[in-house]
């Protein structure tokens, strides 16, 4: 077990190195001069531009810049943001909490709704409920999140005025959840539901097909023969056997939610990693882009690791460490 964990964590190193190199190369190849952007939005004195290049080492040859960058990473130093002049680690800390809050809330909602709807569709296979769930899942998966977010905002924030559209920064969100903190948590509802609706569709479809796959299994027939009721078999045996693919998808979505919530963050003015990453790319703020990408890479690898650890618990036939590999 420990050996397996260590192997997996060590496997993170080449993945991170590859991600770091890829991002560095891509940003280096993009048109646009970071020094010019560091020097501000206005016309700039060429002398100041030269000084900025020297200060940040941007006039060095590419291999030198790359070597310095890797050296810095190996020392665990994420560097300083070109645009903000602050350490990247501090910037990532700023954005990690809102991202984590939104991502987890959306995942919980998506899991409850997606697995529930998928189970419902499987139970009523071929009937109106099944069709309804499939249509809903298709709509959820194919609706642009930007549009969906705006529609939810216009309906629930502007028209009905039930929920705030924005305001994460006004109140923050603190734990544990109590009635007194309801005003804080209300800010989370619309963005989390928007994100959840999009993830929910895929989960419902996977749950439905996984349940249908195991429906005819011998073990289920045997359980029925032992006198268990149909709902009992469904809940205690079928659902448990159908869970591995669902958990696999859930794990990937968890990681994806951390970086893939850009449109939701944009609509609801949510200060998350995705938005920070897009802005950093626009400003050619290499250290921040790198920091965000490394963080997201770690999130993906850890999520897959968690899935691998959970799968054998759900289904003993799955050998240890084969889940997502």
């Amino acid at each position: 077990m420990t050996g397996y964990l260590l192997r997996r964590l060590l496997g993170l190193v080449p993945v991170l190195l590859a991600a770091a190199t890829l991002v560095w190369g891509l940003l280096f190849a993009l048109p646009g001069d970071p020094a010019r952007l560091i020097a501000g939005a206005r016309a700039v004195d060429p002398e100041v531009l030269r000084e900025v290049r020297v200060e940040w080492g941007l006039d060095d040859p590419a291999p030198v810049q790359y070597g310095r960058y890797l050296g810095r990473l190996l020392r665990g130093d994420l560097g300083v943001s070109y645009a903000q002049g602050r350490p990247v680690a501090a910037i990532l800390r700023d954005y990690a909490l809102p991202t984590l809050t939104l991502g987890l809330a959306a995942l919980v909602l998506a899991a409850i709704a997606g697995i529930g709807l998928g189970a419902l569709a499987a139970w009523y296979r071929g009937r109106a409920v099944d069709l309804g769930v499939l249509v809903l899942a298709l709509l959820g998966a194919s609706t642009p999140v930007f549009w969906l977010g705006l529609m939810l905002m216009l309906t629930f924030a502007s028209w009905l005025r039930w929920l705030p559209a924005t305001g994460y920064g006004l109140d923050g969100i603190t734990l544990p959840f109590t009635a007194a903190r309801l005003p804080e948590w209300r800010h989370l509802v619309l963005p989390a539901v928007t994100l959840a609706l999009v993830s929910m569709g895929g989960l419902a479809r996977v749950t439905r097909s996984a349940l249908l796959d195991v429906a005819g299994a011998d073990s289920l027939r045997a359980a029925r023969a032992r006198g268990l009721s149909r709902p009992g078999v469904f809940l205690r045996h079928a659902l448990r056997r159908a869970l591995p693919p669902v958990v696999t998808v859930l794990g990937l979505q968890l990681a994806g939610l951390f970086g893939g919530a850009v449109a939701t963050e944009f609509v609801f003015a949510w200060p998350g990693i995705g938005k920070a990453l897009v802005r950093a790319i626009a400003l050619r703020d290499l250290p921040v882009v790198e920091g965000c990408v490394l963080l997201l890479t770690i999130a993906y690898v850890l999520a897959s690791l968690v899935v691998d650890l959970v799968l054998p618990l759900l289904d003993p036939r799955v050998p240890e460490g084969t889940g997502l590999q």
């Binding site: 501000g40 004195d45 984590l100 603190t174 200060p271 400003l283």
Partner: protein, 542 residues
């Protein structure tokens, strides 16, 4: 359950449990629930790139900096006259070389320390210092010895002295008319040394000045809160707390304004509901919008007739009254209304297709024959695409083919600016210029002086010694009428003879204010220069 599976379960459970615990730990900062009496909330479309006055070059940063900091002098938002700020008074020597400022008594920084003359010297030297890399260094370069200090050749600025703790003397190499106006800019703010020497740069999130508001809270990418400073030398503002809310999306911001989450909004939707219309404030700004011509690239190079033809072909009236109605005024020239040198009689280029066609023929391209498509570059932002498409359509109407190139800001700057030696790739480019200080020099010199070719501002790569000479001479004069006269002459040369750009508009702005926000002073200095210390809220009791 076997031992192994128990261990696996424990690891998984620990990970799942650790997440909310981590959340709880991170979320321990408890928001302040004591609601102040008067809270004014306005929107910023992005997080300000910086709140360090020495680094500030954009208007989002101004929204914070101009409320937190003060310089020796300030600019009256309405009359644009230079008025006292940290300096209570000043005198200028008869030769216009020596400026003596007498500091006001009782000016205090937000950290409680009294401001002294030495702080002025330190702040100015900080802007000049090489290590600061300040894009505003030029503000103080007219001071004697400033260039030597900036180059590291001198340990202090010889033209900067403090005969006593309440007096600052600035000595210039030569008379420089706009100098006092330049000292009103954010870059010349006075900062406390003990805060701005901090190598951790805590001032990037917790700036300390002596202005009417102090930053009390900064939620990244989301909110900046400024509280009234009780010991502000101009008297405590009526507003207790200002909340700058960062909301990128225009639709979201407008909904937030409508539902009461904002008291003011800087971006007004084009399809504004009728009931909100009375809340719009329209006012002119000191700036111009244009499409620049790259004079180092064919076919615009060496062909003023072609450039004039393009100017006549574009219908600026239609652009700003029908396509994008708002506060922009159709452009005729470079110097915007409201400052000395503005030429009300400058004809500019009113829409005239017949003239455009005849000039096109004179340029060597009758009906556009033989003219390869000209690239018009713009960055993805605001109404740039709609403007570019309209210009493209107007030019196609007279036979000038145009291809559009839309890119992001970084790629755009590279294509437009080039370097001092090499022209950028763009042949035409959509841009604008806001004046740093209300003086004709602040538009003519950076944009068109031959010394500023390239990233320094002259993206057109315009070089005309007669123009340079007029602008240089005007700078050394002190008589306002004589200066204005030289600027008018220079503008006529650039606009009516050389036409290095397509004059689209004089800037105007539209800002929404709720009816209960009183004391709003619209100012041509910019949307975010409306003085917040003059505001008060008269909300009906709920």
């Amino acid at each position: 359950m076997t031992r192994g599976s128990r261990a696996r379960l424990a690891v998984a459970a620990a990970f799942v449990c650790a997440l909310p615990l981590g959340l709880a730990a991170c979320g321990s900062r408890s928001p302040d629930k004591t609601a102040p009496r008067q809270v004014f909330r306005f929107r910023l479309r992005e997080e300000p790139p910086t709140v360090d006055p020495a680094q500030m070059t954009d208007n989002l940063s101004e929204a914070i900096v101009m409320n937190v900091f003060r310089g020796l002098v300030a600019m009256d938002p309405e009359s644009l006259a230079v008025v006292p700020a940290v300096a209570a008074s000043w005198t200028v020597s008869p030769d216009n070389l020596t400026y003596t400022f007498r500091l006001r008594d009782g000016v205090t920084f937000h950290n409680g320390r009294a401001l002294e003359a030495q702080d002025v010297v330190w702040s100015f030297e900080r802007v000049l210092k090489k290590e600061t890399h300040s894009p505003r260094r030029w503000l103080l370069e007219p001071v004697t010895g400033a260039l030597d200090f900036a180059a590291g050749k001198a340990s202090s600025v010889t033209g900067l002295s403090t005969p006593d703790p309440r007096t600052v003397v600035l000595h210039l190499d030569r008379p420089f008319a706009p100098f006092l106006g330049m000292l009103t800019m954010g870059g010349a703010s006075i900062v406390p040394r003990e805060v701005y020497e901090n190598p951790e740069k805590s001032y990037l999130r917790a700036p300390v000045g002596c202005g009417p508001f102090k930053v009390v809270r900064w939620e990244p990418s989301s909110l900046i809160e400024m509280a009234a400073f009780d010991r502000y030398y101009g008297g405590r503002p009526a507003i207790d707390l200002v909340q700058a809310r960062i909301i990128e999306n225009q639709v979201t911001a407008f909904q937030e304004y409508r539902t009461g989450g904002l008291d003011s909004l800087d971006e007004v939707p084009t399809d504004l509901p009728a009931d909100v219309e009375p809340e719009v404030l329209r006012y002119p700004l000191l700036g111009i919008g244009y499409i620049g011509f790259n004079l180092d690239r064919a076919p615009l190079k060496g062909n003023p007739a072609l450039r004039q033809a393009i100017n006549y072909a574009v219908d600026k009236e239609y652009l700003w009254s029908k396509l994008l109605p708002g506060a922009n005024i159709p452009g005729r020239g470079l110097i915007p209304p409201g400052i000395a040198g503005y030429d009300a009689d400058l004809p500019g280029y009113p829409h005239d297709e017949a003239k455009a066609r005849s000039l096109l023929a004179r340029a060597g391209y009758p009906a556009g024959r033989g003219l390869a498509p000209i690239s018009l570059w713009f960055n993805t932002s605001g109404d740039n695409r709609r403007i570019a498409e309209q210009v493209q359509a107007d030019l196609r109407g007279v036979g000038v083919p145009v291809t559009l190139r839309e890119v992001d800001w970084a790629a755009y700057l590279k294509a437009v600016e080039g370097s001092a030696e090499t022209a950028g790739e763009a042949q035409m480019f959509r841009f604008g210029w806001s004046l740093d200080y209300p003086d004709a020099d602040a538009v003519l010199r950076p944009l068109l002086h031959s010394k500023n070719v390239g990233p320094a501002g002259n993206y057109f790569r315009y070089r005309n010694p007669a123009f340079d000479d007029l602008v240089d001479r005007a700078l050394t004069l002190v008589d306002p009428a004589a200066r204005a006269d030289l600027y008018r002459k220079a503008e006529r040369i650039a606009v009516m003879e050389d036409a290095p750009l397509l004059f689209l508009n004089y800037f105007g702005s539209m800002t929404l204010f709720k009816p209960y926000v009183k004391g709003v002073t619209p100012t041509p200095l910019g949307e975010f220069r409306i003085p917040l210390e003059r505001l008060r809220l008269e909300k009906p009791a709920s």
